[in-house]
């Protein structure tokens, strides 16, 4: 069952096309990562889905309801964390969550225990200072807690880990991972390792266009490359790389500080031929590894096309 869908969604800001015919489809229970470099249109997509921006053309649907600023029927069932969460500085964390709970139309008595759980989850239960004195990480955790106040069916997270330290990031990612299957997560990020750790499916956005929308496994299968990494020392590394670049079975080759990475059309052939070539150029082989295709390799390949 599709819970988020966009149809030919486009957005122009004066002469700049931020989104160009975006067709997204997210299944219930997925952890979906919208991946793209800065300025690709991720935040614009989320703001349109939240009803904060009007699309120039096309439409979007959440839980089967058409998104518009005045359609509130699905809004009780979603949560959202913007890229830079902003709060009332004079409030305390518990007070803010109680306010969000009331805005969501929840009964204040019923939500008390839920607020305590969320404060524990975001490790803010003992914090008595006002939000104005919070660090960026604390604000991010409180932002995530407010997005969960109404036990949403879908949460939209815009760059949820960008402001966090490594420990905070790991905790947030673990939290997101734990939602898998129960809450649909739509998260935008440019941090590829985050996506690899938690997402089931990804959409890769570049210059407003969706250039891929698949599961990570499907992407890896489709863009699988036989890559080899050689750590070499010697005088003639540059000549060695130039020779390899001219060979038919070498699809791509890069070299930096003795580390040569090559993508071969036939891995077996490469493994047979390379030792003789290394010897011919009088190079010393320090290490030799077959590299696995990472999401980063796929992302860079797709985005730089």
């Amino acid at each position: 069952m599709l819970v988020i869908r966009t149809e030919n969604l486009s957005k122009k800001f004066k002469n700049v096309t931020a989104l160009d015919n975006l067709n997204l489809a997210v299944e219930k229970g997925d952890v979906f990562g919208l991946l793209g470099p800065n300025g690709a249109g991720k935040t614009t997509t989320l703001k349109i889905l939240m009803g904060y921006l009007n699309p120039t053309s096309g439409s979007s649907y959440i839980l089967g309801e058409k998104v518009s600023p005045n359609n509130t029927s699905y809004k009780k069932r979603i949560g959202y964390l913007p890229d830079v969460p902003a709060f009332y500085p004079w409030m305390k964390a518990e007070e803010y969550l109680a306010y969000c709970s009331e805005l969501a139309g929840l009964n204040s008595k019923d939500s008390e225990s839920h607020i305590q759980k969320l404060l524990e989850l975001s490790e803010l239960e003992d914090v008595k200072t006002k939000i104005g004195g919070f660090s960026r990480g604390m604000k991010q955790r409180l932002g995530l807690a407010q997005a969960l106040i109404n036990n949403p069916e879908i949460i939209f997270l815009d760059e949820p880990t960008s402001a966090l330290d490594p420990i905070g990031r790991r905790e947030v990612l673990q939290m997101i991972k734990s939602f898998s299957g129960s809450i649909t997560v739509f998260l935008s990020t440019h941090i590829l390792t985050d996506v690899e750790r938690v997402c089931d499916r990804v959409g890769i956005l570049n210059e407003g266009q969706l250039i891929a929308q698949k599961s990570i496994e499907e992407l890896k299968k489709e863009y699988f490359e036989s890559a080899l990494e050689l750590n070499l020392s010697g005088q003639k590394i540059e000549q060695f790389v130039q020779t390899l670049a001219g060979l038919e079975w070498v699809e791509d080759i890069t070299s930096q500080a003795g580390m040569v990475r090559l993508v071969a059309s036939d891995l077996g052939l490469a493994q047979n031929k390379l030792p003789a070539l290394i010897a011919e150029y009088n190079l010393q082989l320090e290490s030799f590894t077959t590299a696995e295709t990472t999401l980063e390799d796929i992302f860079v390949k797709l985005v730089s096309k």
């Binding site: 939240m50 009803g51 904060y52 921006l53 009007n54 600023p69 005045n70 509130t72 809004k75 009780k76 979603i78 959202y80 913007p82 830079v84 969460p85 902003a86 709060f87 009332y88 004079w90 409030m91 007070e95 306010y99 969000c100 009331e102 805005l103 969501a104 139309g105 932002g143 407010q146 109404n150």
Partner: protein
Amino acid sequence: MGFKALFKKDLKEVLKTYRIYVIPAVFIFFGLVSPIIAYYLPDILASMAGEVRVELPTPSWRDAFDQYFSNITQMGVLAIILSLMGVIADERSKGIVNMVFYRPVSRLAYVFSKFFSYGLLLSVSIFVSYLACYYNATVLFPEVPLAATFQATFLFWIYALFIAALTIAASAIFTNNVAAGGVGLGGFILVNLLPLTHEFFDSYFPGALQNSMGEILRGTTTMSDVIPAILVTVLLALFLLILGGYIFSRQEI
């Protein structure tokens, strides 16, 4: 939609931010000092004149309240505009509203909640300020009438709420609080200039209320004469709030 939660939060905000000090302080200050200034003004002027002999009529309670209304229709109104110009514009520019409007909350309710919470602060401030002015006037002057002074203050209260509605509506439309303040100030100047241009505006527009305060004190007009201007002011304030909420709800944030 969401008005109750928003209003409860806005009331807390009124109590916990600087606005709880600014608006009451300005109004109560002028309530306290206006009768004193009116009472001692002839002595002050005489001492400044030196050798020149200055003959001034003995001040009365009317001078105290003239002084009071003159102060609060200028400095009081300025305090309202400066304090309220950022109530929505600031929350928009800081991104606070992004955490609110993805929930089932209407932007019109947001605008009205701001108006009612700050309107309440303003009402209490004006009432306490009036009590302060009335008390000091009764100490310094004989026979201060309760009805006329209260009626004139009532007219100022309606006028002040109109200015608050105008500034809050501007704050909902503009993301920059200086622009919102500019519109509030421009609107304030306009409603005061319009009565000078045509008799219709002099009888029915918010600026008419300001003129009527003095006339009520002098007994040259009655409250029933001012009812059309009161109704127009209230309806105009309501219209401005709805317009502000409507434009805000159609804007991208």
